[in-house]
C-alpha cells in the first residue's frame, strides 16, 4: 500500500514538475504568437531546452534577503505556496482504475476520499497564507500591498468557488471525486447540467490562481512585483512554480468536476480493450487539462487587468448573488428535471 502510494506520488510530482517547466515555455510561445512575435527559439531545437536554461539561471542567482524581512516567515511562505499547490493533486483521479496482472490499481494517489471536494476548498483557503505571509514578511510596502490584495481577493472569490461547487455536489450527491466522475458518466457532464456553476467556478479559479485578469497581487505597473518583489533566486522560482502548478491543479479539478474527468463519451460503446480504454482515458484527461491551460494563457494575453474596486464589486455584488441563484436553479433542476 505505502509503496504503491509512494510510487504514484513520485510519478505525479515528476510529471507535474516537467509539465510546469514546459508550461512556462508554452506561455512564452503563446504570448509571442498572440503578439505576432516569434518567441524563444535559440536554446536547443525549437527552443525546447529553454526551461533547463531558466532553471539553471534561477539556481545560480544570488539569494537576496531584505534586511527588514522576517527571516523565518520569508523563507516559509514560498514553501507553503508550493506545498498547497501540489497537495491538491493527491486526490485527483487521473484515469479509471487499471488492471495489471489481475490486480486493480486506482490512478489517484488517494482514491475514494470521502470529502474530496471539501479537501480542495480547504487547501485553497490555506493557499492564501503563502502569498499573504510572503507579502508581509518582506518588509516592503509593495509586497505588503500585494499580500493584502491577494488575501482579500482570494477570500472573496473562495465564496463563489464554493457556491459553484455546491451545485456539483447537489447534482452528484457525493463529495468524492471518483464518485463525481461516475455520476457524470451516468447522467451527463456537469458543464451541461450546471452551466452557471461552471462559469462561476471558472471565473473564481482565475482569481484563486492570481492569473490575469485577476493578477492584482503582482500587478507590475502599480506594485512593482507585488508579493514577490523582494524574492529572488530559488525562492522566487518556488512562487513561479506554485503559480503554474496551481494552474494545472485548477484545470485538473475543473476537468474532473465539470468535464467528466477521464471520461470520453460514446467510447465504451465501441467495444475496445479495457486497458486501451484506460490509456485513452488518461490521454483524454490530459487533453482536457491542456485545453484549460491554453484558455488560461489565451485570456492572460488578451484581456486587461481589473481595477481593484471592479474586482471586489464583481466578486461580491455579481458572482455571489449569482452563486446563490445557481443553488436554487440546481435544486429546481434536480427536483423536477432529473427525476
Amino acid at each position: 500500500m505505502v509503496v504503491e502510494a509512494l510510487i504514484k506520488i513520485v510519478i505525479v510530482l515528476l510529471t507535474v514538475l516537467t509539465a510546469v517547466s514546459y508550461l512556462v515555455l508554452l506561455e512564452r510561445w503563446i504570448s509571442a504568437w498572440l503578439q505576432d512575435r516569434i518567441g524563444p527559439n535559440r536554446t536547443g531545437p525549437l527552443g525546447l531546452f529553454q526551461p533547463l536554461a531558466d532553471v539553471l539561471k534561477l539556481l545560480l542567482k544570488e539569494d537576496i534577503e531584505p534586511s527588514q524581512s522576517e527571516k523565518w516567515i520569508h523563507w516559509l511562505a514560498p514553501v507553503i505556496s508550493i506545498t498547497v499547490a501540489f497537495s491538491v493533486l493527491a486526490i485527483i483521479p487521473f484515469g479509471s482504475a487499471i488492471i495489471l496482472s489481475g490486480k486493480s490499481y486506482s490512478l489517484a494517489i488517494a482514491s475514494n476520499v470521502n470529502i474530496g471536494v471539501l479537501y480542495i476548498i480547504a487547501l485553497t483557503s490555506v493557499g492564501v497564507y503563502g502569498i499573504t505571509l510572503a507579502g508581509w514578511s518582506s518588509g516592503s510596502k509593495y509586497s505588503l500591498l500585494g499580500g493584502l490584495r491577494s488575501s482579500a481577493q482570494m477570500i472573496s472569490y473562495e465564496l463563489t468557488l464554493g457556491l459553484g461547487l455546491v451545485s456539483v455536489v447537489m447534482l452528484c450527491g457525493t463529495l468524492d471525486l471518483g464518485g463525481i466522475i461516475q455520476s457524470q458518466i451516468a447522467g451527463g457532464w456537469n458543464i451541461i447540467r450546471a452551466p452557471l456553476g461552471f462559469m462561476l467556478f471558472l471565473i473564481s479559479s482565475f482569481a484563486e490562481t492570481n492569473r490575469q485578469p485577476f493578477d492584482l497581487p503582482e500587478a507590475e505597473p502599480e506594485l512593482v512585483g507585488g508579493y514577490h518583489t523582494e524574492y529572488s533566486s530559488m525562492k522566487f522560482a518556488l512562487f513561479f512554480l506554485a503559480e503554474y502548478a496551481n494552474m494545472i491543479t485548477a484545470s485538473a479539478v475543473m476537468s474532473v468536476l465539470f468535464l467528466g474527468g477521464w471520461h470520453v463519451p460514446f467510447l465504451n460503446t465501441l467495444g475496445m480493450d479495457p486497458s486501451l480504454l484506460a490509456v485513452l482515458g488518461i490521454l483524454a484527461f490530459g487533453l482536457k487539462i491542456f485545453a484549460f491551460i491554453f484558455f488560461f494563457m489565451w485570456v492572460r494575453w488578451s484581456i486587461p487587468r481589473f481595477r481593484y474596486d471592479q474586482l471586489m464589486n464583481l466578486g461580491w455584488k455579481v458572482l455571489l448573488p449569482l452563486g446563490i441563484i445557481n443553488i436554487v436553479i440546481t435544486a429546481l433542476e434536480k427536483t423536477y428535471l432529473l427525476h
Binding site: I73, I115, L118, A122, S125, Y129, T132, W136, I155, L175
Partner: protein
C-alpha cells in the same frame, strides 16, 4: 506506525499552542496558531472524523486565522509590541493552570470508557474500560454511544431502527443526515444566529454618512 503519527500530530498541536502562548511577537503568535489548527485537524482525521477535520481547516485556517493575520498586517508596527503581561500574575496564572491540569488529569484517568461489544453468542454487552489502561481512545470506536443507548433502554425503550449507515466509511453522509433530522432545530437556529452576526457586523463596522450625504441619499431615492 499509527501511534507515531498520532504523537507527531500531538506535538505539532501542543508546540504551536505553546509558541502562541509565549511568543513575544504577536505575528509569530498568530502564525503558530496555524500549526495548532493543522495538528488538531490531523488528530480529527486519526479519530475518523474526516469531515470535522476539513471543516476545522476551512473555518479556522481559512477564515478565522486569516482575519487575525489580516488585522495584524494592517496594524503598523504591531510586530514590535510586547504583548505579554507582567511577570507577577504569570506565576499565579501558571500555578492555577497547573492546578486545573491536575484536576483534569485526575478526571480523565478516573473516567471509564464504555462501549458495546458483541460477545461470542451474538448478544451485545456493555464493556467498561478505564482510561488508565484503556486502549487508544483515538482508535475511532464509537465510544459511549452504544452504551448510552443501552442505559436509556430501561426508561425509554429501544430506539426505533430507522436506518443504518453500515458500510459507508467517512462521516459526511452521517453528519448531513443528522443535520436535517435530529439536529434540525439547532441547524436552523444557527442560520438565524449567522444572519444576526452579519447584520450586527455591518451595523457596527460601516462608516456613518455625514448629514449632507444622508440628505443626498434620501433625495435621490425618493
Amino acid at each position: 506506525m499509527f501511534d507515531i503519527i498520532f504523537y507527531i500530530f500531538g506535538a505539532i498541536t501542543v508546540g504551536g499552542a505553546l509558541v502562541t502562548a509565549f511568543a513575544r511577537n504577536i505575528v509569530y503568535a498568530a502564525f503558530s496558531l496555524l500549526f495548532t489548527f493543522f495538528g488538531i485537524a490531523g488528530l480529527y482525521i486519526m479519530a475518523n472524523a474526516d469531515f470535522l477535520a476539513v471543516t476545522q481547516l476551512l473555518v479556522y485556517v481559512g477564515g478565522i486565522l486569516i482575519l487575525l493575520i489580516f488585522g495584524v498586517m494592517l496594524t503598523s508596527r504591531i510586530g514590535t509590541v510586547d504583548i505579554r503581561v507582567g511577570t507577577g500574575s504569570r506565576w499565579v496564572a501558571g500555578i492555577m493552570a497547573l492546578g486545573l491540569f491536575a484536576i483534569l488529569c485526575a478526571a480523565f484517568f478516573g473516567t471509564a470508557a464504555t462501549h458495546t461489544e458483541k460477545s461470542a453468542d451474538g448478544k451485545s454487552q456493555v464493556v467498561t474500560s478505564w482510561a488508565t489502561h484503556a486502549t487508544r481512545p483515538w482508535s475511532g470506536s464509537k465510544w459511549n454511544q452504544d452504551a448510552t443507548t443501552e442505559a436509556l433502554k430501561p426508561k425509554y425503550g429501544a430506539p426505533d431502527e430507522v436506518k443504518s449507515n453500515e458500510g459507508s466509511s467517512g462521516t459526511s453522509v452521517e453528519i448531513g443526515t443528522l443535520f436535517l433530522t435530529d439536529y434540525l432545530l439547532p441547524f436552523e437556529v444557527i442560520s438565524v444566529l449567522i444572519l444576526v452576526s452579519l447584520l450586527g457586523a455591518t451595523m457596527i463596522a460601516r462608516k456613518e454618512p455625514t448629514k449632507e450625504e444622508e440628505a443626498i441619499a434620501e433625495s435621490v431615492s425618493v
